[in-house]
Assembly symmetry: C2
Homo-oligomer: 220 residues x 2
């Protein structure tokens, strides 16, 4: 489930705060979801709760980590050492959460050799060697959109089986490769959509008119 990482984060926070036990109700409130959903999700891991009491926070953290494959570190390799690649590499939160940067590659000669966040930028031709030497399974694409497919192909060829794509482009990969895309513009457009609807709703209220399903009148 895609919600397990969220529970993991919440539980980790609670654990840090000294909470040793938590009920599905509390966890649901923290996460802003339904308590029954929390229980269903957690029951997927097995029956690790105690009726009348709740869940042991530490044990649950461990179980979720096991399920998510977070029992060991996963090195990641970043393709593209531009603004974003540098920000990601320099950002400590990556490694803190079990995903240390195992390498950065680029095509631009002027980027190669520079050191960001303790990692030296290397040429993309060395990708396969980097991936294999550290047994890296996850690649991050931080190149411009048009180069994203090339980057993905290079990653797959090097042996990476999971890709996180920040470029605004849809990449095609062979079957069996997991790809996730993070697109800022999409997020903003979804927010803009809600704003748009809010604005339309205000308009309709103000006009006191029969609310027609089609809101015409783009200007003014």
């Amino acid at each position: 489930m895609a919600r397990l990482p969220v529970y993991l984060q919440l539980l980790s926070e609670q654990f840090e705060a000294g909470i040793t036990n938590i009920s599905s109700e509390e966890l649901a409130t923290l996460g802003g979801v339904n308590a029954a959903k929390v229980r269903k999700d957690l029951s997927y891991l097995g029956s690790y709760g105690t009726r009348g009491v709740g869940y042991d926070v530490e044990f649950l953290v461990f179980q979720i980590k096991r399920e998510l494959g977070l029992t060991h570190e996963w090195h990641v390799v970043i393709v593209g050492a531009g603004n974003l690649g540098q920000a990601l590499s320099g950002y400590g939160g990556f490694g803190e959460r079990g995903f240390p940067v195992g390498g950065i590659v680029d095509v631009a000669e002027d980027k190669i050799g520079s050191v960001i966040g303790g990692v030296r930028v290397r040429h993309i031709d060395e990708l396969a060697q980097i991936v294999q030497s550290r047994d890296i399974a996850i690649g991050v694409i931080a190149t411009p959109g048009p180069a994203a497919q090339d980057a993905a192909d290079a990653l797959v060829a090097a042996g990476v089986t999971s890709v996180l794509n920040f470029a605004p482009a849809i990449v095609n990969t062979p079957h069996g490769i997991s790809v996730r895309k993070v697109d800022l513009a999409v997020e903003l457009q979804i927010l803009s959509y809600h704003e748009q609807r809010r604005a339309n709703a205000r308009q309709a209220t103000k006009l006191q008119a029969v609310p027609g399903p089609r809101g015409r009148g783009a200007s003014a």
Copy 2:
């Protein structure tokens, strides 16, 4: 629908490439989804296709933009001028897609006054004034996790009604405020989950054993 931005991007790309007409089948292939789904989604905008021919790309782009509220620019305000805030502000892609940065605020005195991407960093106390002067509806949280709730409260108090949160924390907002969260760690953990499953599958195959539902044996 959350897929409209994706179609918009695909269609824009096709339009740039000189394609004036596209069928639901083609669009579905590009987006990696089912053709019927594409048609259902697009029919939500109205009947803008021509049977036997397909959709006019330019017209469809316009219609989706109208639906998403992208007929005008939405200024955004960024809270937190650290690594990420600076990368976002300096990144041109924001403005290119209709979301120019209308302001950046921070609490740290040493950040205030510096200029990033043509925008001067100002104190968070000026947030309300910035938001109101430019009629800003969208705020971006780029502060550390523990400060995210404060940032959200400040944004809401200033009059922002949509929030994009990059901090690894869940923020609570009053009803009527849209919040979206982008969490790198969550994305990576989902990829790691798939890697984990792949590893388990390999193990099971190698052992030629009856595939038991519980994979024990964490060590070795």
